[in-house]
Amino acid sequence: MIDNNDDVQWVKAQRPTVEPPDAEATGWARAALLAHTERSSRLTRIDSPSERPAARGTRRRKSGLFRSHRGMAAAAAVALMAAAGIAASVIGFPTGGSNLLGPAPASAAVLTLAHQVQTAPQLKGDATLVLHTNLLTEGPGSSTSGSFTGADLHLDDGRYYYAQTVAGLPEAVKAGPMTDYSLKAVTDAMSANATADPQTARAAYLKAVNPLYAGDTETEPGWQQDNVIWVSGIDVLGAAYGRPDVLAATLRVLSTVDGVTVTHVNFDGHDALAISMKDPGSKAQAKIIAASPAPMSSSEAADAAKILREKKEAMAKAHIKVQPIPPHLMTLTLDDQTGALLQYTDIGLRVTYTVTRVDAADYGL
């Protein structure tokens, strides 16, 4: 007869034996969490009072998923591993958009836009206001829902202010420019390379963006450099609106990213370019190297890939299924006349932008 606490003790004794987590599992999980926090830090929800960012000093929407070599790898892992078996070879269209002309050669389309932007009349104003609404949707690959807004004020001289709403900007201005996430070095570099060829502009971009990522953006493998350009480029494109040379040079840099595809779409009445980040290879080895907290050779990665394959097969045999996660596709939609940001979509995220030129004086500057 079982009584007293014996039943609980019996249950305790029946617990399956589990070895402590090994370094690989711990490293992977830690890297994934790190990348997730980095990614989420630029998506900080502000509908919770406790999360309300301060007007100054908050590392809000830091697009830099990859702040260091390791962080870069981890974030790339998230970009890749958020979807097991990702295959983003087919372009997706933004919500509300429709494919008008079908896919176009990516670099040609982006370079055409760059030329157009650079030869367009200079817009008035000395600052750019980027208002964005961020919608987080729960679903496979994403565990958060909610929405928040943000207002970025980028002055042409490089100063940057952030508030949740445009009404909060005067107070943010009083607090002073945010210094922990300045794009000035990048926009300056783009300005200096306004007429440079795309590869020269790319090199200058990577050099300038390096401090933001505290890493090795100049020496990283190409696909990681591409990832940095893609992620940071969204913010730079916002800051560069209305600065033809800077915007054009940034677009030329974007045209060098491998695996990006472009489609002409109609977005909410705008003729637009939907630029999608293609999975850089979808290779298991690349994913594992990216996720590894320590340097790893290709052969080691190949071994690890084999282990993962075997694990997957074993799980399939045991009828254990991992919930499918949709292909990871990130799409940036730009106005195809002005280069203005219109929308960015990622797993579980849709950001819509309203970008305008303004006078800094209107915000007390």
């Binding site: 019996w10 029946q14 402590p20 711990t26 799980m315 045991a318």
Partner: protein, 198 residues
């Protein structure tokens, strides 16, 4: 190079979580403190898939940290509660053949679909435990296993499952009554050994 900010050992989990609102990377300290427990729990309940579920638990915790009650110094029960939900969803997904779980009343443990242990969960628990726990509703099983395998108090189980402590008491009491009856029925002795059936 460490990717985490070094934590002050006197800081409670609540302080770390609070700090993560301003410095998201600080959440890594919570990982360092509780990864081992969460990993073991997830692996115990979900086998190999537990590794991914444990990792997912921390990402989910980060996303939901605004809901954490900062007067709770120890985040382990909360993390284990999040893990339990992920495990339950995972196990449900493994047994799609079972009838769909409909809208339930206040205490989901009355759901009979959860009372019938799924094939995947039974395989993971092992034959003895699966036999002993079969027939105990899923939420009762969750409460019992949280307590037994993680040395959580009733109060901590309540925090983990975000239910009143009275509900925890009734769930665990109900689970233990059934468990004892089942063990006796299966011929287990006080010491937990199978008694001579002869």
């Amino acid at each position: 190079m460490s990717t985490w900010v070094q934590h002050d050992p006197v800081e409670t989990d609540a302080v770390v979580i609070g700090r993560s609102f301003r410095t998201p990377k600080a959440f890594g300290e919570l990982f360092d403190r509780h990864w081992d427990s969460v990993y073991r729990y997830c692996r115990s309940r979900a086998g190999d898939a537990g590794e991914d579920l444990a990792a997912e638990t921390f990402k989910l915790a980060f996303d939901r940290r605004a809901t954490y009650e900062l007067d709770r110094a120890d985040a382990k029960p909360w993390l284990l509660g999040l893990a339990t939900n992920l495990i339950r969803n995972h196990l449900r997904g493994c047994d799609r053949g079972r009838r769909a779980v409909g809208r339930l009343g206040a205490d989901r443990c009355e759901d009979l679909a959860d009372a019938a242990m799924g094939r995947a969960e039974a395989a993971l628990l092992g034959p003895a435990l699966a036999q002993a726990l079969d027939g105990i509703p899923g939420c009762d099983r969750d409460a019992l296993l949280l307590m037994a395998w993680n040395d959580l108090s009733y109060q901590e189980v309540a925090q983990a499952l975000e239910i009143p402590i009275g509900t925890v008491r009734s769930r665990i009491s109900r689970a233990r009554l059934r468990l004892r009856a089942r063990l006796s029925e299966l011929g287990y002795s006080r010491e937990g050994h199978l008694e001579d059936q002869g």
